[in-house]
């Protein structure tokens, strides 16, 4: 479940409020792994792809990094409260006489469902995939948008 943050926190750099802490966390994780040899469980949902979800008054924005996935290999489904991302990342077979020096990239299927904290309008959702970066913009349902109330 995704929870709204209760209060805004001051940031050191624009748009990267916890960047310094993230770096320290990663270094601590590496230290821990070095000492005990056990993998630290990541704080994410642990499902590919990792996403960043944000909102403003009118829309929800979902971003994901999907290198090597073309728009026809990606399936996005939106319903009243969830976004489903699924697809397959393929790595082309290269040929017969190939010797690998390094193999770090993965290929395979992925499927992930993200529940949104409020209702949305699925018909007006748009998605954009460029340079391997996916951005989905989903407008919030009218009933759920915050409204200004004027004091007379």
């Amino acid at each position: 479940m995704i929870y709204r943050r209760m209060f805004g926190l001051p940031s050191w750099r624009a748009n990267q409020p916890f960047a310094d802490l993230e770096q320290i966390r990663r270094q601590m994780d590496r230290l821990w792994e070095g000492v005990t040899g056990e993998r630290v469980h990541s704080r994410t949902a642990g499902v590919f792809p990792l996403v960043n979800l944000s909102e403003d008054m009118d829309n929800y924005y979902l971003r994901a990094e999907l290198p090597g996935v073309g728009s026809n290999a990606l399936d996005i489904q939106v319903d009243a409260k969830t976004i489903s991302l699924s697809g397959e990342r393929k790595i082309a077979a290269e040929g017969e006489d190939i010797k690998y020096h390094r193999r770090e990239r993965d290929a395979g299927k992925f499927s992930r469902m993200i529940s949104l904290p409020g209702d949305i309008e699925p018909d007006k959702a748009t998605a954009n995939l460029k340079h391997g970066l996916l951005k989905i913009v989903v407008p919030k349902a009218e009933a759920v948008k915050p409204r200004q109330i004027n004091v007379s």
Binding site: P49, V51, D106
Partner: protein, 136 residues
């Protein structure tokens, strides 16, 4: 690591570059995942660098060291409030020592869907020549 077939893709957190030199650009720098393989004539490198425009990618080859350096424009998200942040955006940097001599004129680079394909043709090896000795 992975077998070909219908395996589910696993989550891999991005690895940050652990460098001693200070970066001149602000922001985090990550090490992109690469596949490196060769066939008889060329060395091929595939790197995952999502979010990089072709102009922001610098490929440098000198003294047998290949350096990939890509800057990523952070997206303008003023007015948006983050609900869930599972990954960070940052620049990419990686260096390799090449054991082969590369024909620099014929290097090709292609950037599609956030994947860089770098083709480095090897210099044709000098064919061994038989040297006959004249008896004199």
């Amino acid at each position: 690591m992975t077998t070909p077939g219908n395996q589910e893709l696993q989550v891999k957190e991005k690895q940050e570059v652990a460098s001693t030199a200070e970066a001149t650009r602000p922001g985090v720098v990550f090490t992109p995942d690469v596949d490196i393989f060769e066939n008889e004539n060329e060395l091929i490198l595939l790197a995952d660098i999502p979010g990089v425009e072709a102009e922001a990618l610098k490929i440098d080859l000198r003294d047998d060291t290949l350096t990939l350096s890509a800057s990523v424009e952070p997206e303008d998200i003023t007015g948006e409030e983050a609900l869930l942040t599972e990954y960070q955006s940052g620049h990419y940097y990686r260096q390799f020592n090449l054991s082969e001599i590369i024909d620099q004129e014929k290097i090709e680079a292609q950037l599609t869907d956030g994947v860089l394909r770098l083709t480095l043709p090897k210099v044709a090896k000098a064919t061994p020549r038989k040297i006959t000795v004249q008896a004199g």
